[in-house]
Subunit: 199 residues, 2 copies
């Protein structure tokens, strides 16, 4: 059962992501990731599908980042982390793939990416293979890497391309998850949000 | 003349950064960078010196990100950019150097980092040599790279260390700027903020 059973579909860009959503406010939603970079890597977006932060109203901006703060605190606790990377690619020339504002929240702990090159490898992973649902968008808009090997299953992107820039990082090792897997995580996180103080 | 002449000193972590500050609200300030990754790379911080986003009050959180949105729009316009990278290293295991919440805002345009490896090289630059005022903190807290070759001049860090991970990126080419240079940019940006709509 989805935490949001019966609710209207929630859109992330042109994708329906309702089964992945674990938290909503009137203006904002949070969803689990198809290909998390690290455990607990989630996204927070405005309900309104707009591409840029400047397109948000002040009320949407406040609500988005109050939600980022609360969701970040929750995933840090639930996944036993000690820090968070928070990142927004605001526009296509900043690496944005899905033209819908989204903040990445990535729980971090000591030495968690030593195998991939160290603390900062999170950014290579974030951008090397999107880390989110953006591959389908990349498929529609050819990139300079000519990555055309994306297929869409169940409304989510499955990117079979490789990038060669960071040989220490094997993005193909990050298999896209099934919908049931994401739904199960979303249910757990929805319950955990109920334990999270409002302030 | 500093845009904030006569005002109380503003602290970024343990550093006084008043001459670099170009915008303040009661809860937030924005400052120009010692070693900008790209033109217009600025930082936005809460006035209160706290290390983590969760340490902020909801009012501080809203004000910080409303300021990020307005300052981002301003630097995108002034520096002729088309996108923004917005990033927070929230905690030491996420790469935070100065233990004071700060959002990096980096104006982006097409092909601006082709010489350094492409769009995503911004993150290597951000973390490869801090991109902010953090090197002095790194000096105090030895890193796994054993980078101890930092000296402090005028309260700002001058990092003469090298990292070898991304050979396409020569961080040493980014010379730290003088205080007068930063003060001049802060004056220009302070005036530009006056042209920026409140909403």
């Amino acid at each position: 059962m989805s935490p949001l059973k019966g609710a209207k579909p929630i859109y992330f860009g042109s994708f329906i992501v309702t089964p992945q959503v674990f938290h909503t406010t009137p203006l904002t939603f949070a969803l689990v990731n198809l290909k998390p970079i690290l455990p607990g890597h989630v996204l927070v977006s405005p309900r309104r599908v707009v591409p840029r932060v400047t397109d948000l109203t002040p009320a949407e901006t406040s609500d988005l980042f109050l939600t980022v703060r609360r969701v970040g605190r929750m995933v840090e606790r639930v996944y036993g982390a000690t820090s968070l990377n928070i990142a927004i690619q605001d526009g296509v020339h900043a690496g944005q793939s899905v033209p819908h504002v989204h903040a990445h929240i990535i729980p971090r702990k000591a030495a968690d990416l030593d195998h991939a090159g160290g603390t900062d490898a999170v950014y290579d992973l974030l951008d090397g293979n999107e880390g989110d649902l953006g591959s389908a968008f990349k498929n529609a808009v050819p990139t300079e890497e000519g990555n055309q090997s994306t297929e869409v299953r169940n409304g989510n992107a499955v990117d079979s391309g490789r990038r060669s820039r960071f040989p220490a990082v094997d993005n193909d090792a990050r298999k896209p998850r099934g919908e049931e897997d994401m739904r199960a995580e979303a249910e757990i996180l929805a319950l955990e949000m109920e334990n999270e103080p409002l302030d």
